[in-house]
């Protein structure tokens, strides 16, 4: 066998590629169900945690239905599209579409007789995507809670957005200014309010060394919630 011949090289490469491809696709296919159920449970866990219900990933599936009462997919004009299952909307694909054809998922949760609107978020961090959920109270102004996650922000810096001390600083913050106009919530380094005791300033103390991730968080909150304003307006007009 001459292993330097072209024939050998081509045959070897072909066998190698085919066998690697079959091993990988076989593994991927056979593990798909387990992986998807993990992703689904995590999504439920994150939605619950934004309304203050902290459960393990395995418990989340059974408890989800107890709290989340409605799943709506909204059109950009604020009307509800009954044809689309809101839970199955993949925001990663959805945010790339035109606003007019996007469907905006909204989860309505009921915890101890209080109604919360949970809006899924998705935006860009420093290295890759960041996403999360923001839960608004019935006044559609006060934040009940948030949860964030990220693909590959820097450990110890941008990755800190998933930590409790950061997430908790959003609680009770307002998304509207004092005149009732929607302004979102900004991460800022200059508000002289590191304890976040001022809940009316629309500002959160930013994480040192994570400016770009922080700006991504501010941007995605504004960009995403904006799309739900027509729907919220239709609620108050009724």
């Amino acid at each position: 066998m001459n292993r330097e011949s072209n024939k050998h090289t081509y045959i070897f490469a072909a066998i190698m590629v085919v066998s690697v491809a079959s091993v990988l696709s076989f593994t991927s296919e056979s593990l798909k169900d387990l992986q998807n159920s993990n992703i689904k449970k995590e999504k439920m866990q994150n939605i619950l945690s934004s309304v203050g219900i902290n459960v393990s990933r395995d418990e989340s599936e059974s408890l989800y239905g107890d709290y989340v009462k409605e799943e709506l997919s909204l059109k950009s004009d604020g009307s509800v599209d009954d044809q689309v299952n809101a839970f199955n909307i993949n925001l990663a694909i959805e945010v790339k579409k035109d606003k007019d054809v996007q469907r905006f998922p909204l989860y309505i949760a009921n915890v101890e007789d209080q109604k919360f609107y949970v809006i899924p978020l998705r935006g860009a961090g420093l290295w890759a995507e960041i996403w999360g959920y923001i839960a608004l109270k019935d006044d559609i102004n006060t934040i009940k809670g948030v949860s964030f996650d990220h693909k590959s922000e820097t450990a110890g810096l941008g990755a800190e957005i998933t930590e409790d001390w950061f997430i908790d600083s959003f609680n009770e913050e307002k998304i509207n200014d004092s005149e009732g106009n929607f302004v979102g919530v900004y991460l800022t380094k200059t508000n002289n309010d590191p304890g976040n005791s001022d809940k009316l300033d629309n500002e959160i103390d930013a994480i040192s060394g994570a400016t770009i991730t922080g700006d991504g968080v501010s941007d995605m909150i504004i960009e995403r919630i904006e799309n739900y304003i027509p729907y919220f307006n239709s609620l108050t007009n009724e």
Binding site: E4, T9, T27
Partner: protein, 215 residues
Amino acid sequence: MSKDREPLFSKKNRALLTDPLDDDNPITVQVLGICSALAITVKLEPAVVMTLSVIFVMAAGNVIVSILRNVIPTRIRIIVQLLVVATLVALVDQFLKAYAYDVSKQLAIFIGLIITNCIIMGRFEAFALGNGVWKSFLDGVGNAAGYGWILIVVAFIRELFGSGELWGVPVIPQFIYDLGYQDNGLMLLSPMALIVVGVYIWIQRYYNRKLIESD
């Protein structure tokens, strides 16, 4: 192949495991794999996860390349090696996503770093292509462990002084902060990893004189 078989853990084979820990350490002596050593040593936990993944990928990869060493066409050997690493990493990723979802989230960022880790390609090229399966296995485990050892040392120092924590648990008592101590934020930035590795090399060469180049 010699007729009289070498014992599995002969002195030479043991050296394959232990040399990379000190005398022939991939990071501090061969200066390979520095890039990932900078990126993932901010905290201890990801450093340990990375170490375990690299041990698996490197041992399995070295074995596969060693089995195929007589049929791999020389002209495309680098591509073949890359394919082996990429396949193993993708497999690890798939299994973690299914059975250890939380670990897989920890690891997600490092997948690319494992594939491009120069130590892995370096060992395939320098060792597995020319040695038997068992020796290649030992060499893979040894080098990955030598790499991981440095990761863990650096991560320990950076997490302790950078965030005052170890494995995410605060270890510096509150009264020290009350006395005016502050965590050193610089430790969390990549340049400090280089400096810590540099100091390690300094200390290592102080005790291990044969590493000092004579000029």
